[in-house]
């Protein structure tokens, strides 16, 4: 099908204006950008339906002369939905204004905090995620390497890494082991 020059230009202009407004931090302008994008998309759908024609009403025009009805049905619901969403966004703007007296979206502080977090602190996010060595003995997994029979010498050595110990390799206490 042959495209027109006018419709792509209108589409390009509306999209450009819509995107520019959408990239703003003010919610009102974001909403206006959203509306422009909606209009741009509707024109895009309309243009994709092919050339103009008669209204798609039987008896009014023959099947060969009408414009494509399918994009029209899609656009019709899109128009109404755009209104529903704009009303919702308006309510969001109002609420934001009512709560904090501004309608500008600032940088999310929580995201900034995550970004500033050092990877080393990943461990501290989940209480179940503590290094096994730091757990209480009764909370350790069963198994003898990490959490097995408590070894006081090793624990002391871990706690005081720089202190020399003269009882590193004592034989096991008589009677309490095999």
């Amino acid at each position: 099908m042959t495209p027109t020059v006018v419709l792509p230009v209108v589409i390009a202009g509306l999209y450009a204006a819509g995107v520019y407004l959408l990239l703003d931090r003010s919610l009102t302008r974001v909403l206006l950008g959203f509306l422009l994008l909606g209009n741009a998309t509707n024109v895009l759908l309309l243009s994709s339906g092919g050339p103009a024609g008669e209204a798609p009403i039987l008896g009014h025009a023959g099947p060969g002369e009408i414009s494509d009805p399918l994009p029209q049905a899609l656009i019709l619901t899109a128009i109404v939905i755009t209104f529903g969403i704009s009303a919702f966004l308006l309510a969001v703007i109002h609420r934001s204004w009512r709560l904090v007296r501004q309608e500008v979206v600032h940088t999310d502080e929580e995201d900034r905090r995550v970004a500033a977090r050092s990877p080393r602190h990943a461990d501290a996010m989940d209480p179940d995620d503590i290094d096994p060595v730091d757990l209480d003995p009764e909370d350790r997994a069963m198994g003898d390497v990490v959490g097995g029979p408590p070894d006081p010498e090793a624990q002391l050595a871990r706690r005081f890494p720089d202190t020399a110990s003269d009882d590193v390799d004592l034989p096991p206490t008589r009677g309490r082991t095999t």
């Binding site: 495209p3 202009g13 509306l35 704009s86 909370d139």
Partner: protein, 959 residues
């Protein structure tokens, strides 16, 4: 078979209730379910021994070629018998293990029974995807059972670790199963194994499936989850982590070995990992003090042994392997249950504190001794039979490669020596009298075990003895199960208790003597183990991997989530430009010819729209910007008219008007100008991105249109519309051809309306708007110059300064006419421009008129209904039409119609689509009313009552 599985489901669901009614005795009733399964499996024994099989197929998802295909052959029967038999006995054991007042008993009962069902399903499944489903179900129940109540950190960690490892393996297995079923062209295990196909796909698939089997069966280097899982209650350990779940991997390997044992890599992985695991497990078991941990490492070791045998891919080894599977299931669950009894009676499992219990609990000790003898491979027990068969087969070279057979044999003998040593250590630790320890005092036996408590271990131990004595009787079943495997030996070997004086017997003797020596020299061995202990372990490796993952997540999140919406959006848009945009540049076919326009009016309107769009960007006054954006909308309506779309033009004009009203209602609360201008650099980058996106979309629209070749989908629509008795094709499309879409869209409208009201109303928002009362009217001072006559019902509540007589009169005159027009549009819409959307919007505009002229009480007078009721009714009407169509034999939302000739109206056609359109109408009216009520009336009320001046802190929190 399906019935059996269903019985497990029902029992599992009923278990908590039963436990509440009958206390812990309920476990006895639940034990009947797996017991029935065992009985059923045994009745099928003759069929299976003759080489037959029992199959059952229930369609599940026919579209995906998925079915519940179950199949019981000899191999499945061996595992099914083990799963059901041990399951029943473990449940019986639970009836005494659980304390009478234990709150978690109901949960334990339900999960154990459900697990038994899942495990039975796993060994019976013939469809690979069904197998996978059951496989993961066992993983999930294992997770729940290990975690227990979730109160203990250690339990949670162990459960999580087991879950992560086994599901990771399970996912690999799923990928492998898909590859294998693709290569073989079937999803049925029986067919896949019979004709496995070949090529790289098969090698990859096999390795992936093996990964799943290895994690599930706790093989090195994934073995560490099994000892950690000993946090679970002892019956759970006995059943899941000794007899049943960890055998799933063994089962899968045994199932696939006939088809894939000769695939490159199979034997190397299976034999290598199996022998390594046997040695590592045995070595680690030797240094445990906790009896349960000793058994857990023993299980790891034995699983390695089993994997080596069933995966070797020869009939003789396979036979030995299956005999050992039975043997291990019996002796290991006996030993676990015995430890449970000891733990229950004395409160400890530490062998350094137990002494002299053999004499105190003779029955239990006998059962444990029997089971241990089986574990160590002493005649006349089943463990001896299995081990003898394995040694014989390998001595005779039952592997394609003779050297491999020798290496594996040496590995197994060393592993068996360790087994004997830790078995002795277990018995000694649990029951022996230690001279340097006081005997566990009588009063420490808080719970002397009753007869029912020791039934399960005793029965299981005796079964092991019977299996050994009747080894020859076991032979046909095992032979039937290994029948598809190649012999690889000159003559077939049979299971038997006594083969004569063979090399294997000599090996067994050596094993026993060396193992005993190792036990006697336990003190030097222990010291040696401490000295050579390496500080690295698979467990810490796992821990480090998880930590690394966490850190990576923080790094990735931190570097991508910068917290700025424009940046996120910009990234998305740049991606759009880079990927589809790049493709458009490289591959797009530029249109060969262009038309200037369809109609000169298009160009003029287009220019106006563009001017309005530029103004919308430049203007910083909120209301003015909203108006110019509205102008682009009205321009669009003109474009629609030119294009031949009157419905769209009508709707667009109406919507644009309502939108403007909504804007005004909200923006009156906000400052005039948008504050805070951004930096020039930001503006420039925004401009560049925006222009690029605009150009991209414009070009894409032209290129896409030029590329259209196929006839439009809608070429049939005129004919379809005629069938639906409608002339307006767009309307017929909305209410009939694509009615599902419309239904979804009005649902979105309902959600949006509800969202608007939720955001604006601070307190309850149900109910219709308040209507004016005499009190409300008296609150407003009536000025002398205010109009006296009452044109509208509630204007007297307005302050005189806000009233406009002309507006009131016009409203009075127009309101009902507009309503009639809206109804006309609704009814005419099927054949002429109009319809539910347009009609609803016109009615909404009538309400807007009343509200603007008379204030919020006037709106209450005009529409004394709850907008929620309108929205709900509309949705109900539209949905109901669909259901009615279904009831009349048509498809959902398909139009039905009635024709009749009525006296006055003449020939009338009634289409059900009209009711659908009425639903749309009601939803749209409800939406507009809800917007007016929230953004208009409620904001008025908040202002009048001074609520919007200083939002009180507690009010914010209350919302």
């Amino acid at each position: 078979m399906t019935l059996l599985l269903l019985a497990h489901v029902v029992a599992a669901l009923a278990a908590p209730v039963l436990v509440r009614w009958w206390g812990r005795q309920a476990f006895l009733a639940l034990a009947l379910v797996p017991a029935t399964g065992l009985a059923w499996a045994l009745t099928r024994l003759p069929t299976v021994l003759d080489g037959g099989e029992v199959t059952e197929t229930v369609p599940w998802v026919p579209a995906l070629d998925l079915s519940v295909a179950l199949r019981l052959d000899a191999l499945a029967l061996i595992f099914a018998g083990l799963v059901t038999g041990v399951g029943a006995l473990v449940l019986v054991y639970c009836a005494r293990y659980v304390e009478p007042d234990d709150e978690g008993a109901g949960r334990l009962a339900g999960q154990l029974t459900a697990f038994a069902g899942a495990m039975l399903g796993l060994v019976l499944a013939d469809d690979v995807f069904l197998l996978y489903v059951f496989w993961e179900l066992t993983t999930v129940f294992s997770y729940l059972l290990i975690g227990d109540s979730g109160a203990k950190v250690a339990g949670r960690r162990a459960a999580g670790q087991a879950l992560i490892l086994t599901t990771a393996g399970g996912l690999a297995m799923l990928a492998g199963l898909i590859l294998l079923s693709q290569a073989a062209g079937s999803t049925l295990l029986s067919e896949i194994v019979a004709a496995p196909g070949d090529g790289g796909l098969v090698v990859g698939g096999v390795l992936l499936v093996l990964l799943g089997a290895l994690t599930k069966s706790a093989m090195v280097p994934f073995h560490f989850w099994l000892p950690a899982a000993m946090q679970a209650p002892t019956p759970v350990s006995a059943y899941l982590h000794a007899a049943a779940m960890v055998k799933a991997g063994i089962y899968l390997v045994a199932r696939l070995a006939p088809g894939y044992a000769d695939v490159p890599g199979w034997r190397f992985v299976v034999l290598g990992v199996g022998v390594t695991t046997m040695l590592v497990g045995g070595y680690r078991a030797l240094r445990q003090f906790d009896l349960k941990l000793l058994l857990a490492f023993g299980t790891v070791s034995q699983l390695g042994f089993l994997l080596t045998l069933v995966g070797g891919g020869s009939a003789a080894l396979g036979k030995a392997g299956l005999a050992m599977v039975l043997a291990h299931g019996l002796f290991k669950s006996t030993l676990f249950l015995s430890v449970g009894v000891l733990d229950h009676a004395t409160g400890t499992r530490d062998m350094r504190e137990l002494s002299g219990l053999g004499r105190r609990l003779p029955v239990l000790a006998t059962a444990a001794v029997l089971a241990s003898a089986s574990m160590a491979g002493l005649p006349p027990l089943i463990g001896f039979v299995g081990k003898e068969a394995a040694f014989t087969a390998l001595w005779d070279g039952a592997l394609p490669d003779r050297t491999a057979a020798t290496v594996v044999l040496v590995g197994l003998v060393v592993g068996s020596v360790l087994t004997v040593a830790y078995t002795a250590r277990f018995l000694w630790g649990a029951f022996a009298r230690k001279p340097d320890l006081p005997a566990t005092a009588p009063e420490e036996l808080e719970h002397p075990p009753g007869p029912l408590f020791v039934t399960a271990p005793v029965v299981l131990a005796l079964a092991g003895l019977a299996g050994g004595l009747a080894a020859s009787a076991l032979d046909p079943l095992v032979a039937a199960a290994t029948e598809p495997l190649p012999q690889l030996l000159p003559e077939e070997e049979h299971l038997a208790l006594w083969h004569g004086l063979t090399p294997a017997l000599a090996l067994s003797a050596v094993t026993l003597l060396t193992g005993a020596a190792l036990f006697l020299a336990r003190r030097p061995v222990w010291r040696l183990q401490r000295r050579v202990g390496v500080p690295v372990s698979a467990d810490t490796g796992y821990w480090n991997v998880l930590q690394g993952l966490d850190r990576l997540a923080v790094v990735v999140t931190g570097s991508t989530q910068r917290g700025s919406l424009p940046v996120y959006l910009g990234v998305i848009l740049v991606t759009v430009l880079a990927l589809p945009g790049g493709l458009l540049l490289v591959r797009g076919v530029w249109p060969a010819e262009w038309r200037a326009w369809d109609n000169p009016l298009q160009a003029i309107t287009g220019a106006l729209v563009l001017v309005a769009a530029v103004l919308a960007v430049r203007i910083h006054q909120r209301l003015a910007a909203a108006v110019v954006v509205g102008l682009t909308g009205y321009g669009l309506a003109v474009l629609f008219v030119v294009h031949g779309a009157p419905d769209l033009a009508l709707t667009q004009v109406l919507i644009e008007t309502v939108t403007l009203v909504a804007f005004v209602l909200v923006l009156r609360k906000l400052p005039l100008e948008v504050g805070g201008s951004s930096r020039a650099r930001t503006r420039w980058s925004r401009g560049v991105v925006a222009t690029a996106v605009g150009v991209f979309m414009g070009v894409a629209s032209a290129v896409a249109l030029a590329a259209r070749e196929a006839p439009p989908v809608s070429v049939e629509y005129p004919e379809l519309a005629r069938e639906a008795h409608g002339d307006n094709i767009v309307n017929v499309t909305l209410v009939d051809i694509r009615a599902w879409d419309t239904f979804g869209e009005i649902s979105v409208l309902v959600v949006a309306a509800t969202g608007v009201a939720s955001l604006v109303y601070l307190r309850g928002r149900a109910g219709a708007l308040a209507r004016a009362t005499a009190e409300d009217e008296q609150r407003v001072p009536q000025g002398r110059r205010a109009p006296r006559a009452q044109w509208l019902a509630a204007t007297s509540t307005l302050s005189p300064r806000r009233r406009s007589l002309i507006f009131e009169v016009v409203t009075r005159l127009l309101f009902h006419a507009v309503l009639v027009l809206s109804v006309f549009l609704l009814f005419a819409g099927h054949n002429a421009p109009g319809g539910g959307f347009a009609g609803g919007l016109v009615a909404g505009l009538a309400l807007v008129l009343r509200y603007l002229a008379g204030g919020r009480y006037e709106l209450g007078e005009a529409a004394p209904v709850d907008p929620g009721v309108l929205l709900g009714l509309g949705l109900l009407l539209s949905g109901g039409t669909g259901v009615v169509g279904l009831a009349l034999g048509a498809q959902v939302l398909e139009t039905a119609f009635f024709e009749a000739t009525l006296p006055v109206l003449g020939h009338v056609t009634l289409v059900t689509a009209l009711f659908f359109d009425m639903g749309v109408y009601l939803v749209v009216v409800g939406l507009v009313l809800d917007v007016l009520r929230s953004l208009g009336a409620e904001l008025d009320r908040q202002e009048e009552e001074g609520e919007d001046r200083d939002p009180a802190a507690e009010e914010v929190i209350a919302r």
